[in-house]
Symmetry: D2
Subunit: 136 residues, 4 copies
Amino acid sequence: MAIYQRRVEFAETDAAGMVHFSMFFRYMEEAEHAVWRSAGMDIYANHEERSWPRISASFDFKAPLRFQDEFEVRTAIAAVTRSTIRWQHTLRRGDTIIGSGTITAVYVSKSAGGGMKSTAIPPEIISRLQAAASAA
Amino acid sequence: MAIYQRRVEFAETDAAGMVHFSMFFRYMEEAEHAVWRSAGMDIYANHEERSWPRISASFDFKAPLRFQDEFEVRTAIAAVTRSTIRWQHTLRRGDTIIGSGTITAVYVSKSAGGGMKSTAIPPEIISRLQAAASAA
Amino acid sequence: MAIYQRRVEFAETDAAGMVHFSMFFRYMEEAEHAVWRSAGMDIYANHEERSWPRISASFDFKAPLRFQDEFEVRTAIAAVTRSTIRWQHTLRRGDTIIGSGTITAVYVSKSAGGGMKSTAIPPEIISRLQAAASAA
Amino acid sequence: MAIYQRRVEFAETDAAGMVHFSMFFRYMEEAEHAVWRSAGMDIYANHEERSWPRISASFDFKAPLRFQDEFEVRTAIAAVTRSTIRWQHTLRRGDTIIGSGTITAVYVSKSAGGGMKSTAIPPEIISRLQAAASAA
């Protein structure tokens, strides 16, 4: 399980005094991108031709995060299909579970006109991501 | 079904040339708050004592939005419990379905120390929101 | 002087209970883009080859904006050079001046490698923007 | 001169393929808050009664930042008055200067009704911030 560490910045809070709920989707994406980097890959490489748009995302909120809280995102790969990866993330502040969620990304090839078509994920990408996501 | 109209602003896009996926959660929340206003209520009233934190959120992405696209959010109440409301939102750009999602909010009372406890939603709030959300 | 109207959304606030100061730069940009549209032009047209990056931005804050406040941005063109436009914006909530600022954008041509070179603004663009920005 | 290190996250980019200009104001604020922490203080302490709203902010953009770029913010205190601190920030990616800017914050006391009144900054706060901002 990969671990990504982060501190809450002020602009991420809202007038309820806690992190705005939409930010948790950004934290999950940051953690995913960190797994790509720890796997020695760049999710944005060759982005004119290949890309990883998100097709679904969900989060269950258990406890709030507040300004300057330090927390971690624990990330694993929950499922893989021919062209999708479903990432599973759990956020913790110390022993407190903040919440957990999933993001499913699809591997697409892009045409010149802006079209996107799902395409098979190369096995090496999967194996490298799985190795990085299951590292201690 | 309430309808909220919006245009994509530049800061909402990302380097893939489309709206960042986290923004859709903000669009859904904006649409919910518009329903509150059309019901003649303010979700933020008395916010020191009562509040509506989100306990779960999900979105399924079908087609991208791009800078300056005009779109609408169609909002309905999908479920009500003693202390929660589940909002259902569908985004469209013309006849194209951009995606759909849900946000569940819980009604809480806040203690001086920052604690939050779920509490029964007053029936009048439910009836006014349902009337506003089902208006043409 | 062009006028752009807006309401404060919840995600734009911070834990001080007011709009985060970085948002004012987004509001100014939104107002500028609205002038482009009212001039019948699209600042993002041909964006692979031409673009309008910002080279300086400033804002002086006089009074806070809070969630759901309705405000307006009054926009004018303060200065034009061969390749830059300096936009001047003042935000008001009713009779209260919220603050004012400037954004200077430069017209650039982009090379395939990602380089950017300032280039002369076509006179028609200037005249159309000036007409739109000085409309009642 | 204090140094704050950061990586560009995907949600911070825009459809021009670079970091949105408004983000630089957030990066500057993050760097300022890091100075507070390295001085052993919390800018948000006692925030119900005392606060540090921003009264002016400016930035000059020299070169773009892109997704996953690693950069640093070098922060110094440019000026101090009875109730204000003007922070000076320069962003660099390696040897490339990305830009520089200032943020002026005012120390205020808050009244129960939401009013804010500038107030004298305690000398110890100034001396501790200056020590932290001038550390190697």
